[in-house]
């Protein structure tokens, strides 16, 4: 080991490898953690840095899981016990609370400061903003204290998110709160739908995890297609709105070649035609709602007025089967009125019930559909087959129709 480079204080043990991460322009987590430890003299933070330094040295991880929870809940805490607590007793425990943030990751400073205060007072003071599933992750507390901390946070209006075989916390793009493309209120939908499944967030009873993600339009800024079991993506059924004057202005400003090369030629179905030299026309029955032209000419074009959502189901990561993208199951539904929401939840209830009954242990919805066949799923979900669901009809004759 080389010499300790941190000269500020002596509270910390030497971490020469980690100190290398204090170099360079990107905000450094080591620098901040060290500052925190030096200010608060929190031994857990020191212990964790020591163990991390040891990981950097030995190139191995040293956390193991376990069962840590709060009263009445079966999930929401990720337990971490050091496998080498004898070496680093200060790192013996390092549990994480997964807190559900407000939809779209919006915070008042008041709310956020309250969390910080509890977390500094009661635990490590380390906060991950945010986990890839979207949780506000409060990293680093002990088993003893976890109930108390949770109670404090719960009093402030915070609740735990999902973990294990349950409904996971949702994620939503900023949507109508600050985006002109949003075709529905992602934040409201996130709030209503996740809270409808509150019980399932807290009490694992599914075959495996289930994630909702909410994107206001097909740009899918919330990564819903790739990373959720049920992607709720804004779309529209009528024609793209064109402000022809602004099209003309756009062409004047950017040049005709830019419009041809970067808009017309990039439409995946060649649905856009140039009209003369200062206008375009869109053949809306060929448009697949990809957003590209609207993205580029955002002042001149916008989604239609008859807006709603598409539901894509079965997305998930690599594990075991290779990455699965969610696939189109409900091409269009309205999602605005209470009735619309009731319908949507009736539908996802049917889907989740079917999966809960049929899914194997550790089997995601997409895998379950794949194993049992899409026909079985469609019947259970009460869906009619449409060509929107496929890139193309089947290319093998191996099916048994009911006739």
């Amino acid at each position: 080991m080389s010499e300790q480079t941190d000269t500020q204080e002596t509270f910390l043990h030497p971490t020469p490898l980690l100190d290398e991460l204090e170099k360079g322009p990107w905000p450094g987590f080591i620098t901040r953690l060290k500052k925190l430890a030096n200010r608060t003299h929190n031994p857990m933070v020191r212990g964790v840095l020591d163990q991390l330094e040891y990981s950097y040295e030995t190139r191995m991880g040293y956390w193991k899981g376990g069962v840590v929870g709060v009263r009445g809940y079966g999930a929401g805490i990720i337990a971490r016990f050091s496998m080498i607590a004898d070496k680093f007793p200060e790192a013996t425990e390092f549990h994480t609370l997964r807190i559900q943030p407000p939809a779209g990751f919006h915070y008042s400073t008041k709310a956020l400061r309250e969390v910080c205060d509890v977390w500094e007072r009661e635990a490590s003071g380390i906060i991950c903003m945010h986990g890839q599933t979207g949780n506000l992750q409060l990293i680093g507390c002990t088993q003893d204290n976890v109930q108390h901390i949770f109670d404090e946070l719960n009093k402030l209006g915070w609740d735990l998110g999902g973990a294990g075989a349950d409904m996971r916390s949702g994620m939503s793009c900023v949507g109508e709160a600050r985006c002109e493309h949003a075709c529905y209120d992602t934040l409201g939908a996130h709030f209503k739908i996740l809270n409808n499944y509150g019980d399932d967030v807290h009490r694992p009873s599914f075959p495996y995890k289930f994630k909702f993600k909410f994107s206001g339009c097909p740009n899918d800024c919330a990564n819903s297609t790739q990373r959720s079991d049920c992607a709720v993506i804004g779309t529209w059924r009528d024609d793209i709105q064109i402000d022809h004057e602004k099209v003309g202005a756009f062409i004047d400003n950017n040049g005709l070649d830019y419009v041809v090369n970067s808009v017309i030629n990039m439409c995946p179905t060649r649905a856009i035609e140039l009209k003369g030299t200062r206008d375009i026309e869109i053949n809306n029955s060929d448009c697949v709602r990809c957003m590209h032209c609207i993205n580029v000419m955002t002042e001149a074009l916008s989604p239609g007025k008859d807006r709603g959502v598409s539901l894509l189901m079965g997305g998930k990561g690599h594990l075991k089967v290779g990455n699965m993208l969610g696939s189109m199951m409900v091409p269009f539904m309205k999602l605005k009125t209470d009735e619309d929401f009731a319908k949507m939840i009736e539908f996802t209830d049917r889907v989740i019930d079917w999966w809960a009954e049929n899914g194997l242990d550790h089997e995601r919805l997409g895998e379950c559909i794949e194993r049992l066949g899409i026909q079985t799923f469609l019947d259970a979900a009460g869906l009619e087959a449409t060509p929107d669901m496929v890139e193309h009809p089947r290319d093998n004759p191996f099916f048994k129709a009911a006739y």
């Binding site: 906060i127 890839q132 003893d144 985006c179």
Partner: protein, 359 residues
């Protein structure tokens, strides 16, 4: 820290209501935004139907934050943003103001504290990264450290909008890939079947669960020293690491044989082309903390080739689709090898089932 004493009856409040958390201008113009433009890299200006403008300054943070750094951002939000702020799905922080004059001040204060401003439009943005040695129980590397090192290596591009289109990056500390699909992804790759720790196995492992977890039925029950245990048929094993998630005795990680792989062309949204999975283009790179220079080199080369060759709006995968994989490997100096040809479940789908060929 004090232990819980009184009995608080949990309120299952679930997701916290977002309305009080929004910036007042977001509430006023909810669902009534008309368009936006980017006055400079890192700054968005959204214009509402009412004509009101909302400026957003986006800055990089370290994701694994501390109460101090959160409070710093709150201070700025209190000063310039009416006490509100938000974070993005890629762990950037966004500070919003209706006062154009505040923009430069916000930027100045952020930069002074080491928070770079950028990540908008066709810039690169923060790696979606994961827990790693810092917290996870199955990592073979440290994603936060790798993210820091890699962002340092390509730092300038965060503050510039000079790429053909946005570049989404991710890094994951095991093959499970919690970091997700990305234009360029850096993921630890297991390369050796799990060594079984028979000492602890029979105490901590639900044997049938571990057996069931294996996607290729490579794990079989056996007896070791008279105790029920497991064995791995190594020729079958695809080193996926799934068993390690089910049972910590299936030791898949290794200080030397856990390697880095680089993937390209993942796409999450629907703009122009459909979402796509990312593809393997380099593997066997050393897991070399604390700075992972070999991985950074590969990422930089790919970015440079894309920057030079991509047409406006072309994402990394779309650029490669146009120029072909042969040229991608030539232009990035990477080497195609037989392991890059799929041999898993849907392997043949990815074969070149045609006489289309480039010379």
């Amino acid at each position: 820290m004090s232990a819980s004493t009184e009995e608080w009856k949990t309120i299952e409040s679930g997701v916290r209501d977002h309305i009080p958390e929004l910036h007042p201008a977001q509430v006023r113009n909810f669902g009534k935004w008309q368009y936006h433009y980017r006055p400079r890299p890192g700054v968005l200006c959204h214009v509402a139907e009412s004509g009101e403008k909302l400026f957003t300054v986006r800055c990089g943070i370290q994701r694994q934050m501390t109460v101090d750094s959160v409070r710093f951002l709150c201070d700025i939000a209190d000063k310039y943003c009416e006490g509100h702020l938000r974070f993005t799905v890629r762990s950037n922080c966004e500070l919003m103001t209706t006062e154009e004059a505040n923009v430069d001040k916000i930027i100045e204060e952020l930069e002074a504290e080491g928070h770079p401003v950028g990540g908008t439009g066709n810039a690169i943005t923060c790696f979606a990264h994961t827990q790693g040695w810092f917290h996870c129980d199955i990592p073979a590397t440290d994603a936060s450290g790798a993210n820091k090192s890699l962002m340092d290596a390509i730092f300038e591009e965060f503050g510039r909008e000079e790429m053909p289109n946005r570049v989404r990056l991710s890094t994951s500390c095991c093959e499970i890939n919690c970091g997700g699909q990305a234009d360029i992804a850096v993921v630890i790759q297991h390369t050796r079947p799990p060594r079984i720790n028979h000492d602890i196995l029979s105490n901590i492992c639900e044997l049938p669960k571990a057996v069931a977890r294996c996607p290729v039925a490579a794990i079989r029950p056996t007896t070791v020293n008279g105790k029920p245990s497991l064995m791995v048929e190594e020729s079958k094993c695809i080193v996926c690491g799934a068993c390690f998630g089910a049972c910590p005795a299936m030791e898949i990680n290794h200080p030397e044989y856990s390697k880095f792989a680089v993937w390209v062309g993942g796409k999450l949204g629907n703009a122009r082309t459909k979402p796509t999975n990312m593809k393997l283009v380099a593997h066997g790179l050393p897991n070399n903390p604390p700075r992972w220079p070999e991985v950074a080199e590969v990422v930089k080369n790919i970015l440079a080739a894309y920057k030079a060759g991509g047409k406006p709006w072309e994402r990394v995968g779309e650029w490669i689709d146009r120029i072909g994989w042969k040229r991608f490997f030539a232009e990035t100096g990477l080497t195609f090898d037989k392991y890059m040809i799929d041999n898993y479940r849907h392997a043949r789908i990815s074969f070149n089932k045609s006489a289309h060929v480039r010379f």
